[in-house]
Symmetry: C2
Subunit: 387 residues, 2 copies
């Protein structure tokens, strides 16, 4: 290690019932609030519960949140607050929270959300003015965006995905309340959980891993190993739901202190070419990426495998590491409840090249941080093996 | 777990050479700086190096830092900045950084440092105005104050120790550069390292332990097990020095997310009655506290013991836990280079009662968070066993 940096100014408050703290928290803020909400919650009990916790404040609700937050929707949300704003509350999965984070930037610093995404062909707009306090309330256990410096946005005009990445958009506080996640359907539970695991695991094996990120990764993976299947098989298992909520938040901390690697590189490219959901796109390539990576990264693969199967501890490091792909494949299969491959998401043999090219072009960072360097041919072979 | 909170707004930058980043960091601040420095560094190369990194700024140096920071010295430091201040840089061990943290409160919010210490007999003064940015540069690896919400201060008039505890006094950034710790003498290395371990271990076994604090505790203890003896036996071992610097910072994170328990309760009382150095006061009671606590907390003692002796992994949890006191005693002895007991620090049999009473009165929080509840008689028996 030459240098390791720890930074997460967000206060993360985790546990059943912590949502109720929202009422006290907003007391210290001014009068005008924006409530960014996944439209899924429109008219729900959760919506009225939150509006009740915000009573006495002038709150505007904004529900134009899509699975891949568009710059146009973000700009529109920011325009609603042109008269000034004192705080933002965001409720939903990663998309709602990312939308709120980006609105916070645009409403305080002007321009369009896409201006703040780093691009090679033009300078990025600088954030010079302070943002308003943002309280994030995740309702899925996957992205971990409640604990990161990232907001993923899409250029609606050119259909390009990019990331606003700045220390300034960490939420002020995040209320991670598993009560809000109890009703997640099985498939969502499974795919978001796999995403959370991928954050922890990829941050762990990547070249940016350090003393801080490794702690978050290991703790998140321990919780995943203990509770992911339980949360899928019995959504009413409160202990498992709590573990998965924490796993997701810790996964966010892990990528915020390190970064994702090849599975996210391939997965995101797959989602670009097909409509594969984010967690699913990673589930279908994770095991094969691990197999391809061996014998590189053997020790960390071995340590990960032992979290899933304690009996492996008596075997050699080589054997432990080699057990990982099959362990993950079987577990993902049982979690999701059915086998998924890239073909499930509609990928055709003739599109393999397009996925590899998009990974090379748009997700080169992920590829470059992976413990084994992949060429374009390597990517094609891995992707083909996942069909 | 009912609730777990993660909060540390400090940016922790760790590694050899990170001190040089100070120059860039202060560029974003205003012109007027206060440099709080352990007088040990007066006229040293480190002092001139830092003044050089701060060149171009109007910097006032304050060196009235004592092992137990006095409110009077803190108030005097704050008074020096009555004309306004833009940032503070603190260089030294826990005392210098705690002095700077407390100066920051007094200069921005007025009054005396002691007003901000919670006491049963009067209301605590509130912090209502924002503090100035504080950059902490630790030169020992023990207190972890570079990552905590605490500043320990002493009422000079009444010789009482107390703690300012607020989310507002976290340093803005901490530059944890083991280069500055390379010249620490063996005994200081040993006693500060034992303090760091105690933070991690006590936070781990205490009633406030949670998913976040446990990560910090385990990572800190892993680094301690790997490198504490090496850092003592060969101060030029850079890898060991880096590990111990990180161990200390992680120990600070651990107590900031959980808290200390009985060893700190007894140790601090011992330092109140005798002149025992902080780390030494804990070294002399740690193993006996663990022995007395058994069979409570067996699993966590067992896990800790296995970090020090991998061969224990084949034994029962009971045997692992029972091995811990002797493992710690032997290691502390080898680290310090000579056996120490409470008698070494001048404690007499007739003072045992006074130590127990002070622990009961001033450090009851530590006692109440310990996994086995200690009565006054229990404390006397433990203390007597450490003579």
């Amino acid at each position: 290690m030459t240098e390791a940096t720890f930074f997460c100014p967000t206060e993360l408050i985790c546990g059943f019932g912590v949502l109720d703290q929202l009422e006290d928290i907003v007391q210290s803020y001014g009068q005008k609030g924006l409530f960014v909400m996944d439209p899924f919650f429109l008219g729900s009990e959760t919506e009225s519960r939150i509006l009740n916790l915000l009573k006495g404040k002038d709150v505007l609700t904004y529900g134009r949140v899509t699975p891949n937050p568009r710059d146009t929707d973000i700009n529109e949300g920011a325009a609603l607050c042109a008269g000034g704003l004192d705080f933002i509350v965001a409720l939903g999965g990663g998309s709602a929270i990312d939308t709120a984070k980006a609105i916070n930037v645009v409403l305080t610093n002007g321009g369009s959300a896409w201006n703040y995404v780093k691009q090679v062909d033009r300078p990025m707009k600088e954030i010079t003015k302070p943002l308003v306090p943002l309280i994030a309330i995740p309702t899925t256990a996957g992205t971990g965006t409640e604990a990161t410096r990232y907001s993923v946005v899409t250029d609606a005009l050119e259909h390009k995905k990019g990331t606003i990445k700045t220390d300034l958009i960490f939420p002020t506080k995040s209320l991670v309340d598993p009560e809000l996640m109890m009703s997640m359907p099985r498939k969502t539970t499974a795919l978001t959980a796999i995403d959370a695991f991928a954050h922890a695991f990829e941050a762990y094996i990547g070249s940016k891993a350090n003393v801080f990120s490794e702690m978050y990764s290991l703790q998140a993976m321990r919780l995943f190993a203990r509770s992911a299947l339980r949360a899928c098989e019995d959504g009413s298992d409160r202990e498992a739901r709590l573990d998965m909520a924490m796993c997701s938040t810790l996964g966010g901390l892990a990528i915020s202190h390190s970064a994702t690697t090849l599975p996210h590189g391939i997965g995101q490219a797959l989602s670009g070419v097909t409509d594969a959901p984010h967690g699913g796109s990673i589930a279908v390539c994770m095991a094969n990426v691990v197999s391809w990576t061996l014998p590189e990264c053997e020790e960390k693969f071995a340590e990960t495998a032992c979290l899933f199967d304690f009996t492996l501890k008596e075997k050699s490091v080589r054997k432990q590491a080699e057990a990982l792909p099959e362990l993950l494949n079987k577990l993902f299969y049982r979690m999701i409840g059915e086998p998924v491959t890239m073909a499930t998401y509609g990928l055709k043999e003739e599109q393999v090249e397009a996925v590899a090219d998009m990974a090379m072009k748009n997700f080169f960072g992920d590829i470059s941080r992976h413990p084994r360097k992949a060429s374009r041919d390597d990517l094609m072979a891995i992707i083909r093996s996942c069909l």
